[in-house]
Symmetry: C2
Subunit: 377 residues, 2 copies
DNA sequence: ATTAGTGACTAATGCGCATTAGGCTCATCG
DNA sequence: CGATGAGCCTAATGCGCATTAGTCACTAAT
């Protein structure tokens, strides 16, 4: 009796699969009106394949408990029906949301021209897409809002982990994420012992700064101004500290850093201010490409020729650096790969791996036309 | 008997809420090890408030069936516990995923310096954040991949709707989204009657192009080259068609469009090619800021002075346009507001509103130093 | 005084999946 | 020849929420 029924089911499933599937993914309501479309579920697969819903689950998840034969059949049916697991249901049954979060804490108007993030994100995506992980993205005003977003995401069960950018000194985020138990990778921060749960992917800013100063020193530069980015950002502070140390080591007194908001406006303004001083610097190091370009233009306007009067280095390479004359020498790094690495670390964490600190290659100085021997050297 | 029990529950809830809540959101496992944190659920709230779980649901969702008194109490408890509805559970019980999708189909290396998308996204976020809607973001290589992503998102029940950018001629996406019944807003496409289910937010490129040509014509320009963006994009084609029409209307034969990939390299290359021809144009219209800047630089290298020899107009305004000398005249639009509008349309759609086509203001030409009277005019 | 009605809850169900606990059949061993 | 176990499945349960169907006490109307 029982066997009979099952057999019948199997036969009908077999037929419908090969001859005329009465079970498409398009539904038709009673009224005859065409409903938009119906998502196939495991139940549908089960009916189609003539097995129980649990068997389907076992089959599709590689769990033992079904014959290879059945497994294959179930897989085929799932494929035909275009089935995909509902992330909602998966998340609900404890499997996680299959999503990672990414928050960008920058005021909308500061977003402007920034090639770094888009490239970073595209690298991240590459890795996440392979594993069908979604990327939940949000732009907020400041770090406080960012923390609120993490809390919400966590409470709403929206993400399995997050990628944190722009680490700061006295950053509240690592502590919060630790508390929430949300796996996270900090991008661009130096390794931090206080939060063993977080992974870190970082570039050796200190080393890069040292080598830039080395190079400029060799070219005879003794007065150097570093037009830095936002104060409070970990890498800004690292660069500033290193510059000071390098200057101290060489006994250079006319070397300093000035922090800005990364905008072209401030980049130009600071440039004008320092160049109009009594003893203008002979070399300028900008923390991003936008300021470097704006600064170089400002210098030119003041009658300073680049690189004869003043050398310019951009700490970010992009098409922008090749849009002005002379082309700007820049520290080049592979932002896409940076993103890939970060995403890989996060997936490793999600797989239960333990946190670690990964260092990506030191940015390389690409010498173009904007750096030269110091005037008078 | 029953009353008694309920009363007791209420009292105990009252006490625990005010004196020593034994129910925090932090859990402690049996072994004494501190578990990372526990998400409070409606069950917790129910226990705390001494009511059933359904009552909590009614209370929190503004449904009738509970007294104002209870409602308020439940709300307070939920607040105290830091409760947030699990999106997974919500989605599973048919409420939608509280997420909208956004796919960017551009090869990774083409992403480069683009201010438009980041601004667009930040505008979108502003509106979505208000309603606690998440934004699922993905970067893919081409439109085929993009379609695959929509299918997957739909099958996985991941998004309630999507925002579509870069509409094309013969675009497969509207049809697909229609088929899937996925609410969508097309950003930048002209209204399309064939897909009544989709909303559209668009700017009047045709009108803008006409006014730009008007302006250049008035300055004496008769030979104009339009360095357009990617062929196949709806707005590229619209601009090209309009330019041709305007030229025809005025009997100008030396007016043409050349399509590119939006990169600085092609912008410069095309510029060189047309300027080195026998009768070089006196005005160049670039479809984005990156090409405009690169093109202006290329022109300068060839000995063409801007705007004396050739006028330059950028169809995208950004800090970039103010980083070169002379500053570039540009068509300025409020990309952030554009994003807001699109997001608002999508939320309206999600609320059950019907699709419509919304036109945002025509981009306005900001005259800067790069446009002038045509040589010889 | 009985009935209908209403307000305020609680119980029960389902969403789509993973998982645990059983159930049935057949081969193997003592 | 009955007991044991392995193999292959099915049934049942839970996740967190929304929702529908009761339940119970109390009021208004007949």
């Amino acid at each position: 009796m029982r066997i009979r029924l099952i057999e019948l089911n199997r036969i009908s499933a077999y037929c419908s699969g090969n001859v005329s599937p009465e079970w498409g993914i398009r539904g038709t309501t009673m009224s005859g009106k065409r409903s938009p479309a119906r998502r196939p579920t495991m139940k549908d697969i089960a009916r189609h394949a003539g097995v129980s819903q649990s068997a389907v689950s076992f089959a599709l998840n590689g769990r033992p408990g079904v014959s290879e034969d059945t497994r294959e059949r179930v897989r085929r049916v799932a494929e035909e029906l275009g089935w995909r697991p509902s992330t909602a249901a998966r998340a609900l049954s404890g499997e996680g949301a299959a999503t990672v979060g990414f928050v960008l804490a920058r005021p909308a108007d500061t977003l402007g021209v920034d090639s770094f993030f888009l490239q970073l994100v595209s690298g991240i995506q590459e890795v996440l897409a392979e594993r069908h992980l979604g990327l939940l993205f949000q732009v907020v005003e400041d770090v406080a809002d960012e923390c609120a977003v993490y809390r919400r995401w966590w409470a709403e069960h929206r993400v399995d982990g997050v990628l944190v950018v722009d680490p700061r000194t006295d950053d509240p985020r690592p502590g919060l994420l630790d508390e929430l138990g949300l796996p996270a990778v900090v991008i661009g921060g130096a390794p931090d012992d206080r939060h063993p749960g977080l992974s870190t992917v970082w570039a050796d800013d200190a080393g890069a700064m040292a080598s830039v100063v080395d190079g400029l020193y060799a070219l005879g530069h003794r007065r150097i101004v570093h037009i830095a980015g936002l104060p409070g950002l970990a890498h800004t502070e690292r660069r500033i500290r290193t510059l000071r140390a390098e200057a101290g080591r060489r006994g250079l007194s006319e070397v300093k850093s000035v922090t800005t908001d990364y905008s072209d406006a401030e980049g130009a303004a600071v440039t004008r201010r320092v160049l109009e001083g009594p003893t203008p610097p002979t070399a300028l190091i900008y923390d991003n490409d936008v300021m470097a370009v704006a600064g170089a233009a400002a210098a030119a306007e003041l009658g300073f020729s680049v690189p004869a009067d003043v050398s310019v280095v951009s700490w970010e390479d992009s098409a922008l650096c090749r849009m002005v004359k002379p082309w700007l020498s820049a520290l080049s790094r592979d932002s896409v790969e940076f993103g890939r690495t970060a995403a890989r670390e996060l997936t490793a964490l999600l797989d239960g791996g333990s946190a670690r600190a990964v260092r990506v290659p030191v940015p390389r100085l690409v010498e173009r036309g904007s750096t030269g021997v110091a005037r008078g050297a």
